[in-house]
Symmetry: D2
Subunit: 332 residues, 4 copies
């Protein structure tokens, strides 16, 4: 098959990163159409990758020279755009969240199921990160015995002020939701959020850090420290504690420097591009390869729906201070 | 002053370890009297350290050739024995718990306060461990900013079957209770216990592992994973997450070996003697030095009482599944 | 420009790895011709990447549907093949060694210089490894001050018996030769080889391990432990010790596992594919990108020549036990 | 037996450290006499430990209230002082070097041998360090197979200007000489010193860093980087590379801090007291315990002599640039 022709919708930081990757590092694909809410932005990125800019995202989705769509627009735009892709029957890689509410996500799950073939991949790039893959393999191989507890840490050095407690759940904790589901291979059934003393770097009313506790179908416990204004670095670590061993990833310690301040250590990755840049490329390459074969090779609509459902419960847990059960429909 | 003459009550593993230390590595002290529930055990240890065995613990406490008492008997015996030391007005180092219930612990706090001088030290040896001391100093020096969250891990490779969920709180979590109070310099106000899937190595009805969550007076959160049948090793780690940095101790990684199974790594400390042996010696030396000066240089009766009060709430939290407030009287 | 059409000469392990990469992960290139000493091998790899097999390497080099050549044949074949590429004026990526003797390597340097444009890249893939790049950047940024000493370690778990002392120099130490030149940006002027007790896994007459010591133009010292039958894993580490700091790479410690044998640690990378697989891909992508722009973006003919010259001195040092000066011609 | 009464000769930094330890942390000993070249210094330390100051070291050695002697005077004073202890037949712990030349050291070895009982211990404290003990045990237990190569690193942050190349051999490398002999249990037979680019922090004529290479009786190779003006910290690391595994100590990584400069890591030990303070105490306690039993429990006169002989060869290697054979007499 010839190259996959891709429309990129939304070329903010994430979309522009993907457009550049698809044009320089990914084999078998080509960006033909770029769309953004800001036409100048679309024009600029389109020019840089040899594509044309299109003002209307739905025109982009329906364009003749488009075989597949990458959606990196704001979450509230996802519902209509993903549905348009399904209507045309072309593959779509949608950055998380799948949509911004449970009902619309589930409707997409059902619609894709009725089509009878997978078209949707959701952008949980950690599933393509070498360390998470190795951790998953340890579990699958039984090297840790039955996993009993998972401890997650998700820290950012700094975020804009609109990252309030609810946004932290939807935008950051959502990754740990998918990681827990991926590693444990079962659904999350309840969420509890513990709010302690907030850093003075947080705006009034925002609980940063928070401790989020998930329970799974089989009763396992997942803890997640979410702290997005550490002032330090981008730290994403996961420890799985099993019946016969434990394993930790994200230690970020391959280059050790000793300096004249009498310290040993190294630089922590400053952001997600440095930490997960390679995972994004693997994600894209495998998405492109699968799309050319007419299939999907990554987390799908159901994973996107599950994440939305858990985060919705998480937001209610933030609001109420209670342990909240996750409401999920049956998998079609 | 001449050597401090010490009666050791209870020479099970811990008491025998202390008696040997006082007779070979600690300066300025001498064991003169040994007591144990089992006379042969007392006779054996007494012989090994050049002391005499005494059948009645209260006779030992009142003996003319005894200046100070080290109590390593089972917890239920502590109340009467500590009170007898207070009655005679001599220094006592009491292994945790101070007593087995809140009321008797608080009565001891009050009685010592009425005496007007400190006589009681409780055996929280971690306060003398070089790593905990360094971690405390980092906090005190402001290197981490205001501490917001503390994560503790306490794992044993194996324990006897009588380590049920409540015993795990009283015997193991009690150390993290003191660590949290020591590091944060404030009281714990509530306890919640999360019980997930238990390891199949645990007896029926025992939740192992558990996640214990403490809140403090100022609202900080302390998480503690207690897991005592890992089959792996003795792992005690603490991470303090502050407003401007974080720090972790207990990494146990000073000797790195690479082996023909293609692995790098090292041996984890198998038990508490290997991990905290040096801390016990520092604890004893400083207790002896302070006793000879007529004072106490370590955690006191109040710390023992606070630990009992928090653990009592913890046991109720295990039973009820609820978040339980810690009930503490005013400090005299 | 359209895709770069590549002839791959030699499809043993390395060549087949490159052919697969060029057909699945590298953008902008396509393997059109495959050649190997064994026709069946060539046919098999050609079929797997959609290319045709050609029996004569020089016919492959001159084929109309070939824009560039990747040489992964045995070292003794390189001289004629690289010269044929220069004669036709097309880009060539030649696995090390450039050639097997100093004179022929220098002749290639001169011939390319006369052509007036760079065509040759030599396959020192470590220059594209993220850790070596970060280490080089530390030096360039002055973070370590003037580098004074470099310590290298190169260990393999096992090798075939034909890896004798001289082969170890030519095949393994050659990488450290290039690493030292890359990091220090100057030539090596002498080589000394220290032979100690050999592992009993080594055939008679083979000194394994050896300690190789290089001196550079400015007088810096580079030590290299080469040990290729450790039975352990693939370990490649480099430490740069500077006037104001030191740095180490190759620690291989991102995933830490704790197991029921009471150990902590992780798996070491078993071989060069696991350790340098990503570096090979970066090398290829940058070679392809540069070739399409008509240039070279990596170590060139001079670097290949310098490595041959230093290794020749190293082999003499093995034979004589003396410190041997490196004889190098002037750079054209 | 009653407490061992000790004369401390020389109370510069090291001697004063020992005097304080013997008076506060070591059991079974008491400093009764203090001597120093500077009477005020002797008086000050004597007062702090409850001893009396004596102006003449030989009067101190012969004093009635002295059972054993600790020598921490400058090296050139050791010969006469150790001989005086032998003459009186009392135990002596002598800081390295045993003496400053081969002949006098060997004379002491012979004299002690004629006395028929061990009296001399030399202050190689690393043999009492927990990490070196663990490393030695790994070797003895066969966990690494036959040791083939040992790599040592000895770095100081800063030293006085009189630390020239020869002094670096005698004062610093001497420790690695003993470590190599201790770990490998055999004698060193030759020394070679490689001098590269010196740090600009070094005085003119001083080669800092240097790479020292030892060969042993069985042909093993020991490399030692000695670099005493790093500006960084006190770094002492040793790696043993064996036939079936390797092991490294001195990693100094138990407390990990993450800070707002985006770095992970920790403080390196600033000096030898922080790194080897505990080893010094173990050394003293075991020396005292052994002396009270009439024996020696540590490196003896022969080890002191061997170190002097190897360092003498090392100094000649510095001067001549040649590989120098170590000249040693037969062990009596």
């Amino acid at each position: 098959m010839t190259e996959l022709r891709i429309a990129v919708l939304g070329v903010g930081m994430m979309g522009a990163f993907h457009a550049a990757a698809l044009s320089s590092r990914i084999r078998g694909a080509r960006v033909t159409v770029v769309n953004d809410f800001f036409p100048e932005k679309a024009a600029e990125v389109a020019a840089s990758v040899g594509a044309r800019a299109v003002a209307d995202p739905f025109e982009a989705i329906r364009a003749e020279d488009v075989d597949a769509v990458l959606i990196a627009t704001p979450g509230r735009a996802h519902d209509e755009q993903v549905n348009a892709c399904l209507d045309r029957g072309i593959p779509v890689l949608c950055e998380k969240p799948l949509t911004t509410d449970i009902a619309s996500s589930y409707a997409i799950v059902q619609k894709e199921a009725r089509l009878g073939r997978p078209l949707i991949q959701v952008g949980f790039m950690r599933r393509f990160d070498a360390e998470y893959v190795a951790l998953k393999k340890l579990i699958t191989d039984g090297a840790l015995g039955n996993p009993l507890v998972v401890h997650c840490t998700h820290r950012n050095p700094t975020v804009p002020d609109f990252f309030n407690s609810e946004f932290m759940i939807r935008d950051s904790v959502v990754h740990e939701v998918d990681v827990a589901r991926f590693l444990l291979d079962e659904e999350i059934t309840s969420v509890q959020v513990l709010k302690g003393v907030a850093t003075k770097a947080a705006p009034a009313g925002t609980s940063d850090p928070m401790i989020v506790v998930f329970e799974t179908e089989s009763g396992r416990i997942v803890t997640d420290e979410i702290y997005v204004r550490t002032g330090v670095a981008y730290e994403v670590r996961t420890e799985v504690v099993g019946e016969s061993g434990s394993a930790t990833i994200g230690l970020d310690q391959n280059l050790v420097v000793k300096t004249t301040d009498g310290r040993w250590g190294g630089s922590l990755t400053p952001g997600f591009v440095q930490r997960f840049g390679a995972a994004y490329d693997v994600e894209l390459q495998r998405w492109v390869d699968a799309a050319r074969r007419g299939t999907v090779d990554g987390p799908g609509a159901w994973d996107g729906y599950a994440a939305v459902a858990v985060c919705e419960a998480g937001v209610e847990a933030v609001r109420t201070g209670q342990k909240v059960r996750v409401a999920m429909e049956a998998r079609p």
